[in-house]
Every structure is written in structure tokens, then in C-alpha cells.
């Protein structure tokens, strides 16, 4: 069922809505969409790219079998990378560092910011576990020199050490550091660094395409009335509001 929506041309004297927008019905819209030809391979490549970049090894392997799409990098290297990411996500930072160094010792040697963030995460985990003395020792021995080497790290270091000051750190101004999302942030950073060292793009293409879709719709909104995709997860076309 199609809805017609007509905007009447206003007089020139009128301040708003001096131009009319083109109206595109659902039927017309769907017709136009169907006329666009996509190759299945392109879609498969996008999916594979997403699985590989995000590190879903088993899914990628299965997908390779079923669709005969070649993964752009060796799945074995994905396994190594995922082990690192997982270790950080689970709070086993020392283990993650060892794994990164086994994969490529240059990554942490040439990425001072990443190295600092990993050390910082280690400190956070020690504090979370209540190992206060060990945490202090660690901060003094491992993190303080980083702060001396680079002023920018000093601020973050102070913030982290502040966790020790509060009786109930999880309700303090610096509680974000204890949040699991901070682990994920660090994990993502490591993942990106490994991907870069393997000359792979660190972001999958799919999110960029979706962003482009939203942007294109916003642009078109200024010129036309047409069915939108409002829910990216379903991709359903929805008629414009009354």
C-alpha cells in the first residue's frame, strides 16, 4: 500500500518550505533498488573481510568451505591474533604480552603507546584482584619509568594509581578504568596493531558501508521523500512518517 504525500508549493513570500521535495513511492523505490546489480562474490568478500578482521576464525573457516571465498589472510595468523585479544579481554595481560612478542617482537618495541596501555591494564587487573602491594611495586618498577620517558603517559598513570587511593574504587571518579569496557578498548588496540604489522587494514569494510548508507539517506532527505532503512539490523524499508 502506498502513501501519497504531496507538498504544495508555497508562495515566494512564505519563509519556510519554498521548494517542494520529490516524492518517491515504496513501489518506485523498490523498483529502483531491484535494478541495482550486485555480485554475490562482492558480498561474500565483505562478509569474509568482517569475519577475518574481527577474528572469528571458525566462522571464517566454515564460510570458506561453504562459499568458496578465499580469506585475504592466512587463517592461522588469525588464531594467534585472537588468542592475544582473548587474553586481554579476560584480563590475562601478561600472557597477552608474551603472545604478542612471540608473534612479532617488533610490535611492542616500536609502539610505546600500546605498550604503556598494556602495562596500565596489568596494573588495573592487579588492583582489581586486591593485590595492592604488588600493584604498587609494579607501578613503581614498570610504569613510573614509562612516565619519565614520556610526559603524556604521566597523566594516565596518575589516574590509574588514583584507583589505589579510594576505599571503594568502583564508585570513584576513576571507576571507568575498572570497567570491562576498558579491557575491550585495550584488546582492540592490540588487535589493530597486529593487523597493521601484517599489513592488513585494521577496520572491516562493512561498518563503513553502513555509515555511508546513513549518510546518503541524510543527504537525500533534503531533496526527497522516500522509504528509509531506519533499523540497520533488519534492513527493512519503512515508509516515511505522516
Amino acid at each position: 500500500m502506498s502513501l501519497f504525500r504531496i507538498f504544495i508549493n508555497q508562495d515566494d513570500d512564505d519563509d519556510d518550505m519554498a521548494t517542494s521535495k520529490k516524492v518517491i513511492t515504496r513501489e518506485e523505490w523498490e523498483k529502483k533498488l531491484n535494478a541495482v546489480k550486485l555480485r554475490k562474490q562482492d558480498m561474500n568478500t565483505l562478509v569474509m573481510n568482517f569475519l577475518v578482521t574481527e577474528g572469528y576464525v571458525d566462522a571464517a573457516a566454515k564460510f570458506q568451505t561453504e562459499s568458496a571465498t578465499k580469506p585475504e589472510i592466512d587463517l592461522a595468523t588469525i588464531t594467534d591474533r585472537m588468542a592475544v585479544k582473548k587474553a586481554v579481554q579476560n584480563g590475562h595481560v601478561e600472557d597477552a604480552i608474551e603472545k604478542v612478542n612471540d608473534l612479532n617482537p617488533e610490535i611492542l618495541d616500536t609502539n610505546p603507546e600500546l605498550f604503556f596501555h598494556l602495562q596500565q591494564q596489568r596494573l588495573i587487573e592487579l588492583i582489581r584482584q586486591g593485590k595492592t602491594e604488588e600493584a604498587l611495586e609494579f607501578a613503581q618498577e614498570e610504569l613510573a619509568p614509562r612516565g619519565e620517558e614520556n610526559q603524556a603517559f604521566l597523566q594516565e598513570l596518575e589516574k590509574t594509581v588514583a584507583l589505589l587511593v579510594f576505599e571503594d574504587a568502583s564508585n570513584s571518579p576513576v571507576k571507568d578504568l575498572l570497567d570491562i569496557s576498558h579491557r575491550l578498548k585495550t584488546a582492540s588496540e592490540v588487535n589493530a596493531a597486529i593487523l597493521t604489522s601484517q599489513s592488513h587494514e585494521k577496520d572491516p569494510k562493512l561498518p563503513s558501508l553502513l555509515k555511508m548508507l546513513i549518510w546518503a539517506q541524510n543527504q537525500l532527505d533534503e531533496k526527497a521523500v522516500y522509504p528509509h532503512i531506519n533499523d540497520l539490523s533488519t534492513g527493512q524499508l519503512q515508509d516515511p512518517p505522516e
Binding site: 618495541d109 618498577e141 589505589l164
Partner: protein, 692 residues
């Protein structure tokens, strides 16, 4: 930090300090423990220890240093040499590579341990991981200045190099490129490499992985640098395809790739600019480098130097940079206040210096941005290159002052005599004086030139500032050249300007020395007013004596010119001043007739003749009481007669001055002693004065 809930027993400072010191010693103990396990005969234990050390030092400069001091490097080196077990080889090579990564002391230790040949042998291992570990460590070593020299001229070495470049292994081919990038130094080496086909091998890497691309770009820049043949060979490959590739890479998503490709293009442009006829390419190269300046890491440091190299001596590119807002961008970076790497500071100041070298607009822009504080600080920097760069920048920008003073342009915003700038100047002058005593000749010369420019038409206050800092003795050292035995030939090419008369220096001219600079500075100092002149009389006329002595020593023409101008300026003062000059010209007793004035008057250098005549003019200016006596003396010494012979001097300036002297002379010659020559001169003089 004290809380009962956390069960910390730290109520007193003694306890907390002991807990911290125990932390430090326990870490020391741990390190010593790991270290001892490195020497274990049990391979399992050894392997574990190696891994531990490796994981501790990666990314951690402090740990690298402390393990280094323990002697870890030789221990690991023996583990590498004595073992055939792949895991041990991998871990020890990785550890050594980490020691060498960006850490000069580590590189030194690894080389001293004599393990370099062993690392090379790892490249032939059947185990891919061993090869990787070996290649990586070697690459780290070759990125350092201390890397062993690679003799490209030996056939064996070339074969080995090419075997590396041909390898499928990314780390190995990257190593090959790295060796070229850091070890290739001479034109001969560049030729040999090109003839062996290295360019064809390297460009393949352009299509490879990120690290291969970057290694390729670095090595290309080294092979092509200042070698037009190599550049033309490169551009000729597949009809310029690879030049286009490199140009494309300046827009790559990775900043380091953008930087390295820009630096490669800068090398090509500086070597053979004809490949860059397209203005668009030049323009985008400039803007890309400007953008890269904002990168906080190493890329930004290198971009600054790259930019200064690109725009050096090229007015059209300087204009492009200026139009792209370079000055403001660079000044903004300098003003951020954070500690900038010395290389970046050097590059930024050199870029500013280049921008200000020819374009007045640039200087105005620069001066209007109130950069003097920053410049003064840079003049104090502990890195010599930074100081020199700041000096050159200061000097180039200060040229503008002359223009303002001469009234040629009216759009100069900053006035050097305003109160604020006096304060800044105080710091500036002090620093410049310090730098004029530097051991480095380039710095010395730049500082002196800057001072000379500052003193030109300076006000009394500024001059007093200067006197109080330098003191007579300091000047004497400068003028008599006692400060340093070095001959300063090379430093003068830091552009000569700002002389009161224009003079172009060709390569066949004798090169001036610090002494000349000192005299020129002195000349500017004493110029203008009576009080200025008193300076040369400090400490019983020490400076004036020294000037006189230098002049009597048959100096080079340039020095003599400046010296005579000093005397001219002093002779423009009081009666006492004039007498003092006479003393210098004709000291008693004179051992032989060492009359340098006569020599100067006969010099080929018109400026020297002119300066000498000026001195005479001032000495016998009729308004002063002792003029007659001085005139008599000058006549006795043969000076006045000599002048009569020069009535038709080739140089107009000299000719006019001589006629001035002779007209002054008229007032001393009694009418009864009119000689036909005098009559003739008088006649031509009147004709000149009233009819020309």
C-alpha cells in the same frame, strides 16, 4: 596511601620507604636470578630464562639498560652461538634484536659480543621462525649508525644482498632493503648497485606488504640521492610507472608511508628537478609534508627536516609553502610548549630560516607572530644543531629590520626598539654573545652576523647592552683571532647581506674570517654617536690598539676595509678621538716606514681606498682645532701627495671623496704657496662642485 581496610601497614615514612626500597631490591634480585638461569646447562631452564628476559625488555628501555649492565648481552650471545636448538635460537635472536631496537648502547653491546656473523648464518636456517628472528635482529642493527660497514663493492657481498632481496620472506627482503638504506653512502656504491639491477628489485617491494613498501622507499631515497644517473634510471623503469607509484603513496593511509614517499620525492626533486615540471605535484608535496609536521612521532620529526631540505634555496617552493600557511603552522607547533625532539626543532627552525631567506612577506609574517621568546630559548638549547638552526633563522628574519629602518617597506609590524622587544633582546643579545664564543664555527659565524645586523643603526640602549656583555677583552679576542686557531672558510656561505654597500662575493674572492666579522660588528657599534666611540677606549684603549695592530700586520683586504671603517668612525668624534687615530696610523717610534695607509690607497680594492680616504676626511675636517697639524703630518707622510695622484680614480666614490679631501686641503694651504698643480686641482674641483 593508608587505609586499614586495605591492610597496608604504612603509617610512617620509614616503613613506606623501606617497602619501596625492598621493591627495588626485589626486582634487582629477580633480574639477577633470571640472569643466572641464562647460563644454565639445562636447555629447558635456559629457554625459559631467555623468554623471560626477552619479554621483560621488549618495549622497556629501562629494563634494557639494567640487563645490559648485568652483562646479559654476552650471555645471550653465547646461548645463541652454542645452541642448535631452534627454540633457543629464536628466543635469543629476538632478545638480541630487542636490545638493538632503537637503543644505541644495545647495538654496541650486541656488536661487541661478536655475534653478528652468527645472526647472519641464521638466515640460511630451514626453520622459518629462526630466519624471521635473525632477519629482524639484523634489521635493527642496520638501522643504527653503528652498523658494520657493508662493502657493496665486493662481489660476494652483492650476491648475498641480492639473495636477500630475492627472498620470499618479507623480513629477509626487508633486511636487504634496510642494508641498502643505511649502508649505501657513496656515489660509487650507488652506481655499482644500480648497475647490478638493484632498482628493479626494489620496486617490486613497492607492491608488497607495508613493511616492504616502507623499506623500499627508504632504500630508494638512499640510492637516488644526488645521483642524476640513478634517478633517470629509476624514472625510466617501465616508462615512469614507479615514479607515479611513489607519488601515489604520498596519499597513503599510513603516515609513515606518506612520509617516506615524500622524502623519496624530495631526493628526486633535489637531484633532478626536471621530472617535476607539474606545479601540482610540487604543491601537494609541500602540503603533505606540512600536514605530516603535526604527527607527534618520529614521522613528524623527519618531516620537518624533509621540508627544510625541499624548500632550501628554492624561492618558488618557499612561496608555495608560505601560501599554504607554513609559517603559522610551524610557529603553532613550536608554541605548543611540549618537549620537541631536537631533530624536529632543528628541522622546524631550518624551515623557517629558509622561508625567511628570500621572501620579505615571510619575514613580516614571522616577525608579527612574536616568536622571539621561542627563538631565544632555542639559542640556549643543549643540542648544537638546534642552536645553529635557530641562529640562522634569527639572522634571516632580522634582515627585515634593515628594510624597515631604510623605510623601504611599511608593513613590518614588529619594532625592534619597542620596550617589549628590548626585554627580549636582552636575552637575545646575551645568548648571541654566548654563541659567538662557540666552538662550532658555523654557530659562531651565524651569531656574529645576527649581532652585526642587530647593531646596525641600533639605538644607544641596545649598544650599551652589548658593551656590558662583551667587554673590551672579549672583542680583542674576536678581532685578533686568538679565540680559535680554526680557519673559518666554510662558514661564510651563510649568506652575506646587510652591508651598507652592496657587494657580491664570487667564489674567487678571499673568504672573510671571524676577525672581519668582529671588525664589522665593531664598526657598526661605534657608528653614530660620540658615546659609542668611547667603547674602543675602554681599558686604556685596548680595542683601538688591537685594531691598529691588525691593520699594521698587512691584513687581507676585507679585514682592512672593516678596520679602516672603524678608524673612520672613531675619527668622526672628538679631538681626542682623532688624535688617537693618528697615533694608530703613525705610531712612534716607527721601526721602518711601515705606512699601511699608502698601501691601502694603492690597493686594487676600491672599498679599501674609499674607507682610507674617509678616515682622512674625518681627520682633517676643518671644524676641529688640530686639523691643521694633522694635515701637516699627513702631507709629510706622503699621504696628501698620493691623493693628488688619485684625482681621477677609476671608482667614482673614491674620486668624489678625494676631491672632498683636497678641497679641505685648500683651507690649509696659504695662498702664497699656490703651485700650478694645486691651481689645476682647484679649478677642476670648482667645476665639479658648481657645474656638474
Amino acid at each position: 596511601m593508608y587505609s586499614e581496610q586495605l591492610n597496608l601497614a604504612m603509617p610512617t615514612t620509614t616503613t613506606s620507604s623501606s617497602s619501596f626500597s625492598s621493591a627495588a631490591s626485589s626486582s634487582g634480585n629477580r633480574q639477577a636470578d633470571v640472569f643466572s638461569r641464562l647460563a644454565s646447562p639445562d636447555p629447558e631452564v635456559k629457554l625459559k630464562a631467555l623468554r623471560e628476559v626477552k619479554n621483560q625488555i621488549i618495549g622497556n628501555r629501562t629494563k634494557k639498560l639494567s640487563f645490559l649492565k648485568l652483562g646479559a648481552v654476552p650471555a645471550i650471545a653465547s646461548a645463541l652461538s652454542d645452541s642448535e636448538c631452534n627454540s633457543i635460537l629464536v628466543q635469543s635472536a629476538a632478545a638480541l634484536g630487542s636490545f638493538a631496537c632503537g637503543f644505541e648502547a644495545g647495538v654496541q653491546a650486541v656488536l661487541d659480543a661478536g655475534v653478528f656473523p652468527r645472526l647472519l648464518r641464521l638466515l640460511t636456517s630451514s626453520d622459518e621462525k629462526v630466519v624471521d628472528a635473525g632477519a629482524r635482529s639484523l634489521r635493527m642493527i642496520f638501522q643504527s649508525n653503528q652498523a658494520p660497514k657493508y662493502d657493496f663493492l665486493q662481489e660476494k657481498n652483492m650476491e648475498f644482498l641480492f639473495s636477500l632481496l630475492n627472498s620470499e620472506n618479507e623480513n629477509v627482503s626487508g633486511l636487504g632493503a634496510s642494508i641498502i638504506a643505511h649502508a649505501c653512502g657513496t656515489t660509487v656504491e650507488q652506481q655499482v648497485l644500480c648497475e647490478a639491477g638493484v632498482l628493479e628489485k626494489l620496486v617490486i617491494l613497492l607492491d608488497g606488504s607495508l613493511s616492504q613498501r616502507e623499506a623500499c622507499l627508504e632504500s630508494l631515497a638512499t640510492v637516488l640521492k644526488n645521483n642524476p644517473e640513478a634517478v633517470s634510471r629509476f624514472v625510466g623503469l617501465e616508462a615512469g610507472r614507479y615514479l607515479s607509484s611513489v607519488t601515489e603513496l604520498t596519499k597513503d593511509r599510513y603516515p609513515r608511508t606518506r612520509l617516506l614517499s615524500c622524502l623519496c620525492l624530495v631526493v628526486i626533486y633535489n637531484t633532478s628537478p626536471s621530472y617535476f615540471l607539474n606545479m601540482g605535484t610540487k604543491s601537494s608535496l609541500v602540503t603533505t609534508l606540512l600536514e605530516l609536521l603535526n604527527d607527534p612521532g618520529q614521522s613528524g620529526d623527519e618531516a620537518a627536516l624533509g621540508l627544510s631540505s625541499l624548500i632550501a634555496e628554492k624561492e618558488d617552493l618557499q612561496k608555495l609553502a608560505y601560501e599554504a600557511n607554513a609559517i603559522k603552522n610551524i610557529v603553532d607547533i613550536l608554541k605548543t610548549g611540549s618537549e620537541l625532539h631536537p631533530k624536529r626543532l632543528q628541522g622546524l627552525f631550518l624551515s623557517l630560516a629558509e622561508l625567511c631567506s628570500k621572501l620579505e612577506d615571510c619575514r613580516c609574517s614571522f616577525l608579527s607572530l612574536e616568536m622571539l621568546d621561542l627563538l631565544v630559548n632555542a639559542l640556549r638549547h643543549n643540542n648544537a644543531d638546534v642552536r645553529t638552526a635557530a641562529c640562522i633563522c634569527f639572522r634571516n628574519a632580522a634582515r627585515s629590520v634593515k628594510v624597515a629602518v631604510l623605510g623601504a617597506l611599511s608593513n613590518i609590524v614588529l619594532d625592534f626598539s619597542s620596550p617589549k622587544s628590548t626585554f627580549i633582546e636582552y636575552g637575545g643579545i646575551k645568548q648571541l654573545i654566548e654563541l659567538s664564543k662557540s666552538m662550532d664555527p658555523n654557530t659562531r659565524c651565524s651569531a656574529l652576523r645576527a649581532l652585526r645586523n642587530l647593531m646596525f643603526l641600533a639605538d644607544k640602549k641596545r649598544k650599551e647592552l652589548f658593551y656590558s656583555e662583551v667587554k673590551a677583552q672579549g672583542f680583542v679576542s674576536l678581532i685578533s683571532g686568538k679565540q680559535s686557531p680554526l680557519n673559518h672558510n666554510h662558514m661564510i656561505h651563510l649568506i652575506l647581506q646587510l652591508t651598507t654597500k652592496t657587494k657580491t662575493y664570487s667564489s674567487s674572492d678571499p673568504e672573510p674570517t671571524v676577525q672581519e666579522q668582529g671588525l664589522a660588528l665593531l664598526r657598526n657599534l661605534v657608528d653614530g654617536c660620540i658615546n659609542s666611540i668611547e667603547f674602543v677606549f675602554d681599558e686604556e684603549g685596548l680595542i683601538l690598539d688591537t685594531v691598529g695592530r691588525q691593520l699594521r700586520k698587512s691584513p687581507q683586504a676585507q679585514m682592512a676595509i672593516q678596520g679602516m671603517y672603524v678608524l673612520t668612525n672613531v675619527a668622526s668624534g672628538t679631538e681626542l678621538h682623532k688624535e688617537a687615530v693618528m697615533q694608530q696610523l703613525f705610531p712612534q717610534p716607527q721601526a721602518e716606514s711601515n705606512n699601511f695607509m699608502l698601501k691601502f690607497l694603492q690597493s686594487h680594492e676600491s672599498q679599501l681606498r674609499s674607507a682610507t680616504v674617509w678616515t682622512i676626511i674625518n681627520l682633517i675636517s676643518p671644524s676641529s682645532p688640530g686639523a691643521l697639524d694633522r694635515h701637516v703630518k699627513l702631507r709629510e707622510e706622503g699621504i696628501i701627495p698620493q691623493l693628488k695622484n688619485m684625482v681621477n680614480d677609476a671608482c667614482l666614490d673614491v674620486k668624489i671623496r678625494i676631491r672632498t679631501v683636497l678641497s679641505q686641503s685648500m683651507s690649509f694651504v696659504p695662498d702664497t704657496l699656490i703651485i700650478p698643480q694645486v691651481k689645476a686641482v682647484r679649478k677642476s674641483l670648482y667645476h665639479y662642485l658648481y657645474h656638474s
